[in-house]
Symmetry: C3
Subunit: 324 residues, 3 copies
């Protein structure tokens, strides 16, 4: 399969310069691209990779136009990375068979569920009583949407996702636990993407809420009554405990844990594997990770860490002694 570069520019905009080949057969990174492939430079730091790239054409920002022209053909666009993202979408539409809307015959859909005719429900999905799936939303294969849960428009829900399992709620009853039935549901906005095997629990009394534009990677756990603000993105293996409220435009790195009943404000960036143990209201970048080391060094430092508080006291004592 090959695509005319002129068609790319016609569809997506940008200015095509110094063209040598007129057709491309694929998209690739600067390092791996060959003469029939289209690549992109998103960060001026990779200027050297641009110059040495064998790509047939490279998408660059206006300030890299002169440099790019030294090398060969280029498309100049204001935001090359965004342009590239749209190019992947266009490319997919050109090269892959369209999949029709509709419900796969193997899916199990409760008759009271409402599924927009433009939605696509994959093989072996389960959509329970009273659930609602919005326009142009795609459930890939083997997704569960529980009772009364709502998924908005243009969402992409990957295989194995479970929306609307019971939140984890029990009251102590002597040594045993008494179940608190989870009477709320899950409400998911528009343009949300949910990665494979991720779970979003239904609320206890009110709903768990995922706002528009949120992007969740794979194997994420969202507890009951969590609220995640617009356009917040979370990488894989994150866990968010019940009743946490997370603001808009946050990013959460892979494997981070956010404890329950706390608030993370908007525009907060949490590093991978960090434990958010208290509310964070000020925008910024937060981290808490034990640094990796060779095991022997780690053992020494970790052992000393258990005496850290007493070391501080010994420093205080020394300071007093020295001041005498």
């Amino acid at each position: 399969m090959s695509v005319d570069l002129a068609a790319v520019v016609q569809a997506l905009g940008g200015e095509l310069h110094g063209i040598s080949t007129t057709t491309i057969s694929g998209l690739a990174s600067l390092e791996t691209a060959g003469p029939s492939e289209l690549s992109f430079l998103s960060n001026p730091r990779y200027r050297q990779q641009l110059l040495s790239s064998r790509a047939g054409c490279v998408i660059v920002a206006p300030d890299m136009e002169a440099t790019a022209k030294e090398r060969g053909a280029c498309i100049v666009a204001d935001q090359p990375y965004l342009y590239f993202a749209r190019l992947t979408q266009w490319w997919k539409a050109q090269t892959r068979p369209q999949v029709d809307a509709g419900i796969h015959p193997s899916a199990v859909i409760d008759p009271t569920a409402e599924i927009h005719p433009s939605a696509r429900i994959g093989a072996l999905c389960v959509v329970e009583r009273g659930a609602h799936i919005g326009a142009n939303t795609v459930l890939k294969a083997r997704v569960t949407v529980g009772e009364d849960c709502v998924v908005g428009e243009r969402c992409m829900v990957h295989s194995g996702v479970v929306i609307g399992a019971d939140g984890f709620g029990f009251a102590p009853n002597g040594d045993a636990w008494e179940k608190i039935e989870q009477l709320g549901a899950v409400r998911i906005g528009n343009d949300v993407e949910i990665g494979a095997n991720t779970c979003i629990d239904r609320g206890a009394l009110q709903d768990t809420v995922i706002e528009d534009g949120v992007k969740l990677d794979n194997l994420i756990q969202i507890g009951h009554n969590v609220r995640i603000g617009r356009n917040t993105a979370m990488a894989g293996c994150v866990g968010v405990a019940g009743s946490a409220t997370i603001g808009a435009n946050c990013t959460v790195g892979g494997g981070a844990i956010i404890l329950g009943h706390l608030t993370v404000g908007p525009n907060v960036n949490i590093s991978a594997a960090t434990v958010v143990s208290k509310s964070i209201l000020k925008p910024g970048h937060y981290t808490g990770v034990f640094p990796i080391d060779d095991n022997a060094s780690w053992e020494r430092n970790a052992a000393t860490l258990k005496q850290l508080h007493s070391l501080r006291d010994r420093i205080k004592t020394l300071e007093k002694e020295t001041q005498k």
Copy 2:
């Protein structure tokens, strides 16, 4: 839908006082409840929220009766949180359609599996050869129960759970790995709840055992030959490595990792994201988490942490110098 408060008290006990409205339309927290909603106060610390709540009626403990009456209607019960848990169960039974026992036609059940007639097997479940599902147990949609595995009575198994996949066992064979077939199974007691997409592996030679009343949240990994004692509860994303033995009445916070071949005694509480790297035999509360900080502060402290052992030596040297 609305429910008469007298019917609540008749079903669940407690004393109804100072009633102004006779019907309620829902359950809600103190903060969000309106005049037609029933709420509860589980902790005397929230006294102020009680006084300002707009709830139509509040469930309180006997020692809060006087305060609650100042505000309006209340139900007095010995354990308000337990009362509330039972209320959610009663409420669900009143307001949601009953789901009949039986096997969904889309489930794939091996003819040698034994399923109690009062059990409910959801859509697209797989129950393999020789498995046993006890009375009144519910498998929600898309659950796998592997060969010879046993699930007790009154269990609730959420969507996507995998019981009885092979434990992770391989013997080194030069650079490669030779599979150790997992010849044990999984035995799950009564009144166990298992959250969405959680996995419980079959044992290598003997069985993996989950005792009565255990509650497991979503996306938990239980390795082969683990034993979890009665009524222990684990939050989401916990991993328990092979052959760990965990006592009764423990709690394990979300994202904690328990290493293999160790013992955690009864009545141990592990904080979220803590790594249990050795046996813990003494009841108590244990933690090991790097505290979150702004990224710049974290970077400075984490870098210094790699020198911690040598800092201790420098303190020792200083102490000797100072004592001269």
Copy 3:
């Protein structure tokens, strides 16, 4: 069911000594084995357990032959643990019904997928367009293999696995995110085992690659464009972020997080719950875990940890003072 020990040795080699019983009914550990069970000693450290074991027969290395004979019957083999692994395979073949190759009628297979006739596709699997499943590979129940993904020969893929969901790729578009379509696939080599509910994402432009002999436990997340080298093994709950390259013959402990766009060389061992935040090129054992402690001690030390960098400065100051 009982098996003649002579048949074991005939099938798997080794020398049978001092036999008292001729049939065994099962395999068991040294501690639990009874007189009709076969056990093994893989590590000379457990010599005492050998001597006190009630096992009918024990597999031992040549250097333990004399000791083992004191106790009773034994099979002498060069690598007892490897012998034991093969014994579990042989035992399973003797004692469990064979499962035929073929595609379970409830599986949903795209007509363009290529499935080797000797492969076995379990109940309720989904194999999408253009996917390829190699000879003697087993997909257990409820596995998804996405478009154009390739699974090699003799692989074992456990229930709930998702191969080929979209990698997590978005370009910023103002406050929102623009999807980068994931145009690559997943290529999995031969003799790979993948644990329950593990996810392996498709690549953005090129493929995600899992080389021959890799063993992945349950609930692992493998991001897009990751490459995992031959025979590397990862325990449960590991997360590997996009474009990480991991060498051959590594081991990664449970719950570890490997950040994206970095390289881990061959023969690297990562401890459980460690965060790999930079490339590791030198073989060895690496760790980064906050040591567990009783909560009160942890609180003191964790609080002091936030002042660690300033403590170092205070030590420096003291050193200067003392040197005066």
